[in-house]
């Protein structure tokens, strides 16, 4: 098991390196092949004036004249051991993991990401709890009462949930509950540490809209999984033992039906950790997704690089976690 974990961690680190190289190439190499000069790149980071002295200063400061492989090396080195920059009277130290400074505001990227992680995590975790519980519960009930009115109704709603885009449900819920009935008049993120009650209260709407989409998906997946599992031979065995139906469903049926869901959940959750872009946008929450948008719209490359890498890290990490969890819950995986 230990060897397995070490091997997986090693592969994960390697994967992250590849992702960083590809991201770097996309943002620094490709535009250059498209005819972008270091001058025009630097000019984007100077104000309206585009003073040649300022451009030269920016180029020197950001090391834009260095060969690309060297720039990439500096980038990776800064993440691992940190870096030093001259953005003021004294050199400022950017501690590892250093993703550099925003080209536009000169604010360090990493602390900004750290500041936003609680927002995105709050969103993702809360929504995940809601959608897993409601999605699985609805899915199980629908499967057990297949063909009933409950089943048809919930699956109909689920179909709508899967088909309606997030920005539609998000805007409608915002229009209804925030602008019309003003239940949540000034929706903003309140850190958990500041006021847990307000934190939860302000997150209800984003949680529910986000969870609606996923609940629908998970209800359908759970239902399909349950229908398949409940037809398995081992369910009949469980019944033949004289187990109560409840125990048959939960301990034997659900356990097996939910296992494949772990993988899907791992991916969905990891993607959300990288930023619930649309939800954050709709509700004006300043999470990783909103930061990514900021980076992209202002062509602030260090932000884009930072968010991409952190998001990739979450995906790789969650994948690793899923593999380990899977090994824990499915003994057949563990030993092969």
């Amino acid at each position: 098991m230990a060897a397995y974990i070490i091997r997986r961690v090693f592969a994960a680190v390697l994967l992250l390196l590849v992702v960083s190289a590809v991201t770097f190439a996309i943002f620094f190499l490709v535009p250059r092949l498209g005819g972008q000069t270091t001058d025009s790149l630097a000019a984007q980071y100077v104000g309206k004036g585009a003073d040649p002295a300022a451009i030269a200063a920016i180029k020197a400061n950001l090391g834009l004249e260095d060969p690309l492989y060297l720039q990439y090396w500096h980038f990776i080195k800064a993440i691992v051991v940190g870096a030093e920059y001259n953005f003021g009277p004294n050199p400022s130290v950017c501690n590892a993991p250093c993703f550099g400074y925003s080209f536009k505001t000169h604010v360090e990227v990493w602390p900004e990401i750290v500041q936003r992680i609680p927002v995105t995590f709050s969103l993702a975790i809360g929504a995940a709890v809601i959608w897993v519980i409601s999605g699985v519960a609805i899915g199980v009930l629908s499967a057990l009462k297949r063909g009933s009115i409950f089943d048809r109704l919930t699956m109909g709603v689920a179909l709508a949930g899967v088909s309606l885009p997030m920005f539609f449900t998000g805007l409608v819920s915002l229009a209804l509950f925030s602008f019309h009935w003003t239940i949540w008049e000034n929706l903003e993120f309140v850190p958990f540490s500041e006021n847990p009650g307000q934190w939860a209260w302000n997150l209800i709407l984003p949680w529910c809209t986000l969870a609606f989409l996923y609940s629908a998906l998970y209800a359908r997946l759970t239902r399909a999984g349950m229908l398949e599992t409940m037809g398995e031979d081992y369910i009949r065995t469980a019944r033949a033992k004289g187990l109560k139906e409840r125990k048959v469903v939960v301990k034997h049926g659900l356990r097996a039906a939910l296992t494949p869901l772990v993988t899907i959940f791992g991916m969905d959750f990891a993607l959300l950790l990288g930023g619930a872009v649309i939800t954050e946008r709709v509700f004006s929450f300043q999470g990783m997704g909103a930061y990514a948008i900021q980076g992209v719209t202002k062509s602030d490359l260090p932000i884009v690089m930072g968010v991409t890498l952190v998001a990739a890290f979450f995906i790789v990490f969650c994948n690793l976690l899923v593999d380990l969890v899977y090994a824990a819950i499915d003994p057949r995986v563990r030993l092969s």
Partner: protein, 362 residues
């Protein structure tokens, strides 16, 4: 089979359709019908089956797939969904009628008084729980004991069914067991509560030949030890020939021949039974003529053929006069003491065919 049990067998089986004495027998099934509503129509999986079984005895139910033998056994266990299956008739177990009893009562009996071994132990055992845990679970459903006691019991049962190093293998998962071991574990699980009735549904089908024999031996030994009544369901007459006291041959949801295994085996009365005998693997037979299946395909259970359900496949369908096989369903009639068959042919006709055409080929 010991001589003692054989003597018992001879004295045993009672007459056909009357419910007289049903309550006296340990297991008595009376006119059991299990129908399923499907989109295509009503599927009559079991359509009026009756039999008895005494404690300590073994009954073999034989038939092709789709003949209703498994449905019958699941019916006894109460494992059909009440929403989908329509069940009628009577099932008496040790003086208690099960079809009329509430599902909760049947559940309590399940696994305790009656238990079941399934065909494919790999799929019948839960892949995510260890063998030990699954046996412990079966034990603790019906016995209020702590986990430790239950574990001791489970290890004891694993030992009893011949699993080497049972304490260590206790923690293994089904996929770590070989096929035969899995079936042993399955048997250990179904016997953990000393059931008085054990139903084994094709217990050896998924296993290779040498293991088959071991498992059958095991069931036989355990039966002696626990004095359970055993129902073995199989499509393979050879499996039950030695182990069963009585045999019941099913075709299209009905019993077409029933009697002591000796009688059914050596003096079979129904052309379908002849066919089954012909498809039986035998060591003394040439490779080439082995496993000649009964010609034709099993009938639809929605539109069961008129008359004798077997007539479309029966080579002797035209022997009885007046097209009788196609118009009238033959009743189950007693031929000799305790030996029943449902065929329009006269006894003389059957014996002639048996001795002249069938027996020499077997």
């Amino acid at each position: 089979m010991s001589d003692v049990s054989k003597t018992d067998t001879d004295a045993g089986p009672a007459g056909g359709e009357s419910s007289e004495g049903a309550a006296r027998k340990f297991l008595s099934v009376r006119d059991l019908r299990i129908h399923f509503d499907t989109d295509d129509g009503l599927v009559k999986s079991v359509d009026g089956v009756s039999f008895d079984l005494e404690a300590g005895k073994t009954l073999g139910i034989v038939g092709e797939s789709g003949s209703g033998k498994s449905v019958t056994s699941l019916g006894i266990m109460g494992l059909h969904s009440s929403e989908r299956a329509r069940i009628s008739g009577e099932i008496w177990l040790d003086g208690e009628e099960l079809i009329g009893a509430g599902p909760e009562r049947v559940r309590q009996l399940r696994g305790q008084k009656m238990s079941m071994i399934f065909q494919d132990p790999l799929s019948a055992l839960h892949p995510y729980y260890s063998i030990g845990a699954q046996i412990v679970e079966a034990y603790r459903v019906h016995n209020k004991v702590d986990k430790k006691t239950a574990k001791t019991r489970a290890v004891e049962m694993l030992d009893r069914v011949g699993i080497p190093e049972p304490a260590r293998r206790y923690n293994d998962y089904p996929h770590q067991f070989s096929g035969g071991m899995r079936q042993r574990a399955m048997i250990a699980m179904s016997l953990v509560n000393n059931p008085e009735l054990l139903i084994a549904d094709e217990p050896t089908t998924a296993l290779d030949v040498t293991v088959q024999a071991q498992i059958l031996d095991l069931i036989r030994d355990l039966q002696k030890e626990f004095r359970s009544a055993v129902v073995i369901i199989t499509h393979d007459l050879g499996v039950v020939a030695e182990i069963a006291d009585d045999l019941l041959v099913m075709y299209a949801g009905r019993c077409i021949e029933r009697g002591s295994s000796e009688k059914v085996f050596y003096q079979p009365q129904h052309p379908y039974t002849w066919g089954l005998l012909g498809s039986m693997p035998r060591i003394d037979r040439e490779q080439t003529d082995r496993l000649v299946p009964v010609k034709g395909t099993p009938p639809s259970l929605i539109n069961v053929p008129s008359g004798c359900a077997f007539h479309p496949r029966c080579p002797y369908a035209d022997v009885p006069k007046d097209n009788l096989t196609r118009t009238e369903r033959p009743d189950l009639r007693e031929i000799t003491d305790g030996h029943f068959s449902a065929c329009h042919m006269s006894r003389a006709e059957r014996e002639k065919i048996w001795t002249e055409e069938i027996a020499p080929k077997l």
